[in-house]
Amino acid sequence: MGYTMNAKGPVLVVGAGPAGLSAALALAGAGLPVRVVDHAPAPGGAVHRQPLPGTRATGTREHKRAFSALMAKVRAADIDICCATGFAGLDHSGAALLTGMRAGMVRPRGLILATGARELVQPRPGWTLPGVQTAGAVQTRLKTLGTAPEGRIMLGGNGPLLLAVGAELCALGNPPVAIILAGRPFGAAGLRLPLAYQVEAARHMARLLAARVPIVTGAHVLAISQDAGKLLATVQTRRGSRDIVADLVGLHDGIRPNATGFSANVPIPVEQAGDCHVALGARAALADGRRAGLALAARLGGRGHGALPHCAVLAHERAAQARLAKIFAPVDGPKLADLPPDTILCRCEGRTVADLRNLGPDCTARQLRLTGRFAMGACQGRFCGDWVAQLAGHADLGQPRLPLRPVAIADLLTLEPDTPDGETR
């Protein structure tokens, strides 16, 4: 097998969102060869997700202008962007496996992970029913297809994303039947947010109010059931519980950084950039991408590096996001420990709260995986790991293993041995 390669390949940047592109620009500026990969069909990441060909783009004019400016710089720097290409991980020998359009093994001299944040969805009865999605998935659909799903849409959980998605649904002509928020964000505290945040919030709220979307605060989506082809969401409010009928439910309980793929056990320098590192949103992602790119360039001996710039943007966004988190602080709701026994925790393997309890009180993390089969499905615990660990009293269930995403065996059969520049196609 001809897979011995030297680590002279271009720096690999995983993720073509603002953080990844910004890091790629910093690396290219330091004279280093760069290749960006992204599993989406076009660059942009979650925030600038591009519409499919022939589809009308959503988003504001300034939003589009910001992305166009970034892309113009990327094109000027002649950075190789491989879209529709997945990153399956970096192994201990320094080989990275790419899947999809530009499948192959590469041996990059450095790695930037700019894979974005993780969206949290807390398990509740019915959260895996058909028609229940994450609010992030609903937003992806809006951005790529440029149309709203048909039927009654309910959004629930907590966080500003729910208001943003609700407003986009209004703009596309299908306002949500209700937005349920665990927090109570509509107080005077919002006035202490930076102006840009207030402008964005005001724009969303104007759309939601104009469409008369009911927004219930301090309320919790307890359970979702299915009845005669429609979904029934049971919502607990201050005045008791009530059912909301919907065809689609978008759930969202916040975002977290995403350490997936970050390992110290690799022979090349690795930096994390943007929301996967600090979940602070798009403004911070540009700055953090530049920071990560410069830091990696310094570690690789790129030209023109020196002291990293003090990053006021990051500090500013960190303070703003902390304030936002406080504004959205959830009013106490149902406890994870009180979930009914038949609630599914691991949706890949269909494992429930009762399955977890049956393992006994002193179950090790290893037993949770081996005997309980938690975090052993295709997602490797990205959805259930936090909650299972919390319920079982563990810090975590262990990091996802390679490959970081499922790899089609058919793809592995077509890889060719490597070429002289340290890559395989």
């Binding site: 496996l97 056990n265 090790t364 037993q367 081996l370 490959p403 089609a408």
Partner: protein, 378 residues
Amino acid sequence: MLGAGVIGAATAHHLARSGARVTVIDATGPSAGASGASDGAVSVASKKPGTLARLATASLLYTRQLAAEGVLARAFVPRPAWYFATLDAEEHALDALVAKLRAIDGPVQACADGGAALLPGTGAGVRRLVKISGEGHMTGYAATAALLDHPGIMRRWPDQVRAINPDASGVTLTLASGRLRVRTVVVATGLGTLSLFPGLPMRPRAGQLFVTDRGQGGHLPGALTAASYLIAKTEDPARLPEPPVVIDPLTTGQYLIGSSREDHGDSSRVDFATMIALIRRAATVWPALGERRVIRAFAGVRAATADGLPIVGHMPDAPNVIMATGFEGDGICLSALIGREVAKMALGDAPDGALADDLSALSPARFAPETWRDAWAG
């Protein structure tokens, strides 16, 4: 009982069945080492002729009995196995396999020997197949859990053994949690044994394994193994003409594909080149794999002794200390028998007469006395 792997669990199970008071101590918990990161062939065909093949035969029969009694009913799955050859060297290995099983003439038989048509679904290039009957599959963690689930077994984890101090009437264990006085200690700590006995001629040998998703089509009724796997058991793995791939259909509908043999002990080390090499050969001989995805890779670390035999028996000069380690991937297969026999040793009972010679071949006394010299220092 030091070690909550499959050997420790089987020994504790038999001790508890005999009415002994038994405590299992482990640094992590059940199946933390090789037992929880392995394929689970209960196989005679893959064993070296002689002692190991005879012990594996006896263990297979006893595993079937424990399954019939209910203890291993859910862990042990009887099923056929196939070995394939695509090369001359592999055909020779199949000849040797057939001859070996004929000589043993036990419960495991080469029940068919022919071309690729023996197993519908095999791919081009498969020249010859040998079908094996009488064997089975047992997942290590499932067996460990089933065996530990017996009344009277006390559990103590996570806890670390710092020192073992035997004397005329018993053993004093120094644990991270304090001291424990016991009559007899059984050391079934796999690779962890090296931290207690650094001079032991045992080394880690890692093997990478790959799990696919579930899918339709390509029903494989038992493991399909390259004959080069048989060669790998006896020869330098670097000299194999093709990867010694094993394609194992799991009860979940997934496939487990293994495995490499690497001289290190890092269970986090997996690499894409090995994955591609093993998966490619697997998909060539079993093309239905082309519809699947690899969802997880992991490495198990086997405890390999210098002479390729496990270490089982009373310690020289310290009969209250009994070793049961160094199984290098044969632990699941041998666990039922070894658990029963080590429990007898601990209780002072005579071994199964037919097995006495083979068991004594595993004695720690076969290593030079200085091997154990550092052991009692703590």
